[in-house]
């Protein structure tokens, strides 16, 4: 993952969806976001993977649900099931779509902010590299 101010990016024109997960401020390229939805139920399908929360069905489509915090921290303990209903970002990983619960959506950072000096109060975000994240898991 790259930690950088949201307003300074090497590839100009890329919009980022920023969100909060616990105390972490994270961002994801909008082109990787499939949808954001509030889910009310999870199918806790058994799995060997510690960060696997199960399956969620939204609008007739089934997708896997991941514990993003566990995946980022490389934890091998029990996945932390979210409180329902839960806000979920469904994102496009290299091998397919998966969702992960988040605590709060923050903003969409557009190209107009690129190159401008960040305001002192602007927080730094971790920009998720979904390709690297998938290979880590």
């Amino acid at each position: 993952m790259k930690r950088m101010a949201a307003t300074r990016r090497a590839d100009a024109g890329r919009e980022l969806l920023s969100f909060r997960l616990g105390d972490r401020l994270l961002a994801l390229p909008c082109r990787r976001v499939v949808r954001v939805a509030r889910i009310t139920s999870i199918v806790p399908l058994p799995s060997d993977l510690p960060y696997n929360l199960g399956i969620v069905v939204h609008r007739g489509v089934a997708a896997g649900l991941l514990d993003l915090a566990g995946l980022l921290d490389g934890e091998r303990g029990q996945a932390r099931a979210p409180t329902l209903p839960s806000l979920v970002i469904f994102a496009r990983f290299p091998r397919g779509v998966a969702g992960f619960p988040v605590d709060e959506l923050l903003d969409v950072e557009g190209p107009e902010t690129i190159g401008k000096a960040p305001a002192p109060e602007s927080p730094a975000f971790e920009v998720l590299d979904l390709d690297a994240l998938e290979s880590t898991g």
Binding site: V43, P46, D48, R59, G96
Partner: protein
């Protein structure tokens, strides 16, 4: 989930008839034609049970799924034959459902461990509860089991727990079975 009826094919293709049942909070299905018998049983049963001249290995999936053991009556579904004969302990049999074969999906991509042995896919079925004013109407996932895969994992688990003297678990004869 209301698991009776039909999940129709959009193209008029072949349908599979499934028997659906619940283990923990998940609804599963197996091909109804594979069911040899269904019996009331106790969740504490272990070992094997004879039925029509064959021995069926009692399999409690909760042991594989890391679920707490149950202490109540359940159902045993007798499936398969020969060395793949298994008596699968389930909590509740829900009913039969016809599913279009084309609607069976692979598991989401990150289910890459033993889950690939245990489950052959899933089907999203209608959430009929939404018609009654509860449930969100998104549909629910019905997970299709591979009994042979579960049995292979279960035997491996039992082998890892076998005492040093090689003693095996007793037959489950007598009390606890109600045909």
């Amino acid at each position: 989930m209301t698991t009776s009826g039909t999940s129709p094919s959009r193209s008029g293709g072949p349908l599979d008839r499934l028997l659906t049942f619940r283990i923990g909070e998940v609804v599963y299905g197996v091909e109804a034609s594979a069911i040899r018998a269904s019996m009331a049983a106790s969740s504490s049963l272990r070992g094997q049970v004879p039925f029509h001249g064959e021995l069926f290995t009692l399999l409690d999936p909760r042991l594989l799924f890391d679920l707490p053991t149950l202490d109540r009556d359940c159902r045993a579904l007798l499936l398969g034959g020969g060395d793949k004969a298994v008596a699968l302990l389930v909590e509740e049999v829900l009913g039969e459902l016809e599913v279009a074969r084309e609607r069976v999906q692979s598991l989401p991509w990150h289910f890459g461990g033993r889950e690939q042995l245990w489950f052959r896919g899933l089907v999203v079925v209608e959430d009929r509860a939404a018609e009654n004013g509860w449930g969100d109407g998104d549909g629910e996932a019905l997970v299709l089991l591979r009994p042979a895969g579960l049995l292979a994992s279960y035997r491996a688990l039992l082998a890892s727990r076998r005492p040093a003297n090689g003693a095996s678990e007793p037959y489950a004869l007598g009390g606890g079975w109600e045909p």
